[in-house]
Symmetry: C2
Subunit: 330 residues, 2 copies
Amino acid sequence: MSTSPSPAQDRRYMAAAIALSGRGRGLSTPNPNVGCLIVRDGHVVGRGWTQKGGRPHAEAQALEQAMDRARGATAYVTLEPCFHLSPRGPRCADLMARAGVARVVIALRDPDPRTDGQGAAWLRDRGVRVDMGLMADEAARAMAGFVLRQTLGRPHVTLKLGLSLDGRIARDDGASRWITGPEARAHAHMERARHDAILVGGGTLRTDAPRLDVRLAGLENRSPRRLVLTRGAAPAGWTPIATPDDIATLDRVDHLLVEGGAATAAAFLRADRVDRLMLYRAPIIIGAGLAGIGDIGLTDLTQAHGRWRLIDMRALGVDRLEVYERVRSA
Amino acid sequence: MSTSPSPAQDRRYMAAAIALSGRGRGLSTPNPNVGCLIVRDGHVVGRGWTQKGGRPHAEAQALEQAMDRARGATAYVTLEPCFHLSPRGPRCADLMARAGVARVVIALRDPDPRTDGQGAAWLRDRGVRVDMGLMADEAARAMAGFVLRQTLGRPHVTLKLGLSLDGRIARDDGASRWITGPEARAHAHMERARHDAILVGGGTLRTDAPRLDVRLAGLENRSPRRLVLTRGAAPAGWTPIATPDDIATLDRVDHLLVEGGAATAAAFLRADRVDRLMLYRAPIIIGAGLAGIGDIGLTDLTQAHGRWRLIDMRALGVDRLEVYERVRSA
């Protein structure tokens, strides 16, 4: 008989499962980037995250690692194990029950109507103890693209800006190199690998000809698809979209990174199509220069309040990263 | 025989003396805002800070509190006790020796040539143990106005800005009320009380007619002098100065707070007359609007780097305060 984890241990293991889910972010579409941890008698016996292209699922991978040690164990999954039949792989709820898992702790109930509670019910019917809702907010944040696809029918959008303390991205003449330092730039490159696609405006594409690739050792092949916001044609290797609303039509893009310039940032903010802000702030003052964000159509300052909440902050060399998320009431 | 404090206790007591020195900031001119703590056998027996107008000195006040308990005690002072004779009061070095203080711990050697080591020497000659240099940087920051008067011949200048995340202070039409919330506004009012004078630009004076007073219960009488940056005349109750350089001519102003607008902020930055930045940042995006800082004459982005260092940061309601200090190599 295996011992049962305490509530504090439950949280630690779920936090680890959420961290694992991050490894599939930007890779797992069309499937959600789920994370899974299997624990037996205080030992982690299996770890998994949804792999490139969506298969295997996190649970299948973790169960394969655990082998017969899954019997009597507790599994932590960031999303309710799937129940719907697919030609691409097994139903994870069924896999878990067959493996003899004693307890499944689930962060987020699957909003996909093909599962939506049925995975948990299937497990309970087979005598598996199921606890749902632990760290649901954190899990939803880690799988934000999937959640927004289900709720708003569009990808999750991160707007990234490299700013001076006074909100500038360049001098008046457009000189914008070397605002942030090497640590911030490396972090921004890693962030690219966590997105399915990156978008810039037509002006930025013409002026800067950005490569938008991931220039980090070992992650070169994680460079995401390249999109350009333009009403015209796009050069080879670039997908054009005409308006921010059109992101809803993108196939296999759960997480979209918008990298500028100011007019593009403003267009996405004006359309309320930004879910997360990543501000890389250098401790410099530029004064006269190009603002990072153009006209967002604000007609009253009171509208501006209550929309953004700071969720993370860290030092990157002399620079600082601030992450804000859009507050949306349910 | 009294017991001697440990090095860790020394630091704690000196930190307390530095905190006391803050109480005289904005009040103590023409004298430095010194703080003093007297400790005997683990008990604080005297506390003092330079009073309004510069007298009594911190040491005199602390010794008066301690009375005969000063004998054999340790005194912590943020600045070397004065040695020069003045018709306005006693020499603190002499006061300390006469009171029988056994040890004097000094943060900063007095750069004023009338003392400059002679206070410490006087004490040592009378058998008092003197330790100099403990937390000198922190003490210099707390008495920044005095230090800059001695080194650069001008007051210490703080530039305060209330900014959106994108560096705006108002919408295009000038609407600037309610960028930051009540906690940040209260903090900004308290900061006014820590300055001898506040300055705004001529445009701000004409447009906003700011009162620049301290609207906090119990601190109403701490409202500082009001200055305006203008080449013209100033209305009653306002002192005009024509250029940022002219702050050197101000009498009895050790700590100057510059509150804007954008052209005035830029003028002080361009003249390198800003020593501290206080950014009250609201988690809002304004987009098109008035920038907080105008043209500072930057011709090359590389010049912008290495000038500002974050020294404090705190949450004020939903807003955040960031404090930067100008990095100047010695």
